[in-house]
C-alpha cells in the first residue's frame, strides 16, 4: 500500500516549524527520523495532509553538558545515545538501554525525540526518562516550558505535547559518581519490542540505597515507575532481604493486562525476575 498524498515542508528553525504546522491546521504531522511514522503512513494508520520535516533544524541537534544538566537535542539519534561519550559519562542508563531499541539500521535514523514524543509504552527510552528524572523541553505557539517525565507520559500514546507543539530537547540531571544503574529486558528475539523491560538507577552512599528510581516498559498503557519497590529499597543496604521486598512490592506497583504475548501473571513474574537480576547485579558490582 502507498501512503495517502500529502504536502511537505522542511523548515530551518523551530519558529518556522511551529508556523508551518499552524498554517496546515490539525491535519499536519511532524516527521523526525521517520522510523515509526513512515510505516504508519504506508499502512495508512496515519494520513496527514502535510508533513513538517524537522530533520534540518539545527537547534534540535547536539549533545552538551551545562553544569548539572545534560541537554540532548530532540534529533539525537538512537545510535548517538549508544555511542556518545557524554552520554556514557552523564546518563549511562540510556547507553545501556540503546542496544535494545530496534535494530542497528533503525537506530541509525530513529531519534530520541521521536521515540519520546510517540510514547509507545513498549519503548525503552520513554521509560528510561522516568528512571533518569528527565525534563522535556516543549516549544509551542504560546512559548516554551519544561515538563518533568513524571507528568509527561499521560496515557496510551498521550504526552504533555499538545498538537502543534514540538519537543525541542531532553534535559537530564548529570549522574553523580555514586550513582549505579542497570537495564535489561525480556523479548522473544533481539530487536523485538520487549515483553517486559526495566531500568534501575540508585545512589549507594555509605552502602545504603538512596534516590532509587525503577522504571518499567511494556507493563501498562504508559511507562511506569515502581514507587513501592523504590520505597522498599530506600534507606536500606542493598542486600538479599531488601531485593526480595522490592520484588514483592511490584504486586502493588504493576497491574499488567493479559495480551496475545503473555498472560498478566507471567508478565508480573518476569518483572520480578528482571528487577531481582538488576538489583543483584548492582549489589555485586558495588
Amino acid at each position: 500500500m502507498k501512503a495517502r498524498a500529502f504536502s511537505y515542508v522542511c523548515p530551518a528553525t523551530v519558529a518556522e516549524a511551529l508556523d508551518a504546522f499552524a498554517a496546515a491546521g490539525s491535519e499536519a504531522s511532524f516527521i523526525a527520523g521517520g522510523q515509526s511514522l513512515v510505516p504508519a503512513l504506508a499502512l495508512r494508520l496515519q494520513a496527514p495532509e502535510c508533513l513538517v520535516d524537522i530533520g534540518r533544524i539545527a537547534e534540535l541537534r547536539g549533545i552538551s553538558q551545562d553544569g548539572e544538566w545534560l541537554r540532548l537535542g530532540a534529533l539525537t539519534r538512537h545510535v548517538e545515545v549508544h555511542d556518545h561519550p557524554l552520554i556514557a559519562a552523564c546518563a549511562p542508563l540510556l547507553a545501556l538501554a540503546a542496544p535494545f531499541v530496534a535494530h542497528p539500521a533503525i537506530r541509525n535514523r530513529g531519534t530520541l525525540g521521536g521515540s519520546i514524543a510517540l510514547a509507545d509504552p513498549a519503548s525503552e527510552f520513554p521509560a528510561m526518562m522516568l528512571a533518569v528524572a528527565a525534563e522535556m523541553e516543549i516549544a509551542g505557539p504560546a512559548g516554551r516550558r519544561r515538563v518533568p517525565a513524571t507528568d509527561f507520559f499521560q496515557d496510551l500514546y498521550q504526552t504533555a505535547i499538545e498538537p502543534g507543539e514540538l519537543l525541542v530537547a531532553i534535559h537530564i540531571p548529570v549522574a553523580r559518581p555514586g550513582h549505579r544503574c542497570a537495564f535489561d529486558e525480556f523479548a522473544r528475539r533481539r530487536g523485538d519490542y520487549a515483553i517486559v523491560g526495566c531500568g534501575v538507577m540508585l545512589a549507594l552512599p555509605a552502602d545504603v540505597v538512596n534516590e532509587a528510581r525503577i522504571a518499567f516498559l511494556s507493563v501498562g498503557s504508559t511507562p511506569l515507575r515502581a514507587r513501592a519497590a523504590e520505597a522498599a529499597l530506600n534507606g536500606r543496604p542493598l542486600d538479599a532481604a531488601a531485593i526480595r521486598d522490592a520484588q514483592a512490592a511490584l504486586a502493588s506497583d504493576l497491574d499488567p493486562a493479559d495480551d496475545e504475548q503473555v498472560p498478566a501473571a507471567m508478565r508480573l513474574h518476569l518483572a520480578r525476575v528482571l528487577l531481582g537480576r538488576l538489583l543483584g547485579k548492582i549489589a555485586a558490582a558495588a
Partner: protein, 165 residues
C-alpha cells in the same frame, strides 16, 4: 512545492524531480533509477531487504522519504564491486554459502558492509548475529551469513593493515 533533489548514488550524481513527496528512497532507487538490486520485502522496516548505506551508515530505504534526503550520498549493492572484482563481503557470501534464494542477500551484504564500518562486533559470532538482527532470511542461511561476515571483516582488516604498512 519544489520536489527536485540531487543525490550521489554509487559515486554518480543524480538529479531527480520527484512526482510526489511520498516516494521512499527504496521506490526511487528501484522505479526511477532502475537500481533493482535493493529489494522490497515488507515495506515497513521489519525485514532489512532494502538496506543501503546513507552517508556511510546502513539504513532501511523503505523507511526513508526521498524528499528528506536532498544532497545525500548513497551506496547500493550495485556500487560495491570494482568492475569484475567482487567486494570482499560479496566474495565471502559466496565462499560461505551465505544465501539460498538470494532475495535477502543484497540487504544482508549492505548491512554487513555497514556493520564492518561500525567496527563494533569484533570477532565474536554472537555480536555479529546481534548486529545483523534487522536482516531476516526466509531461507535460514544465517550460519553461512555469520561466517561470511566474520571472514570479510578479517579480510578487510588485513587489507587495511597492509595499506597502512
Amino acid at each position: 512545492m519544489d520536489l527536485s533533489i540531487s543525490l550521489t548514488v554509487n559515486g554518480v550524481r543524480r538529479d531527480v524531480a520527484l512526482d510526489n513527496p511520498r516516494v521512499t528512497l527504496l521506490d526511487l532507487l528501484r522505479e526511477r533509477l532502475d537500481l533493482t538490486g535493493t529489494k522490497k520485502g515488507c515495506d515497513r522496516g521489519q525485514c532489512g531487504a532494502c538496506t543501503i548505506l546513507l552517508d556511510g551508515r546502513r539504513i532501511n530505504s523503505c523507511l526513508a522519504l526521498a524528499i528528506s534526503h536532498d544532497g545525500a550520498d548513497i551506496l547500493t549493492i550495485e556500487g560495491l564491486a570494482q568492475g569484475e572484482e567482487l567486494h570482499p563481503v560479496q566474495a565471502a557470501f559466496i565462499a560461505h554459502d551465505g544465501f539460498q534464494c538470494g532475495f535477502c542477500t543484497p540487504g544482508q551484504i549492505m548491512s554487513a558492509v555497514g556493520l564492518i564500518r561500525e567496527g563494533q562486533a569484533g570477532d565474536d559470532p554472537e555480536r555479529v548475529r546481534e548486529a545483523m538482527s534487522g536482516n531476516l532470511c526466509r531461507c535460514g542461511a544465517y550460519a553461512g551469513i555469520t561466517e561470511a561476515v566474520l571472514e570479510a571483516q578479517k579480510t578487510l582488516a588485513d587489507a587495511g593493515r597492509r595499506d597502512a604498512a
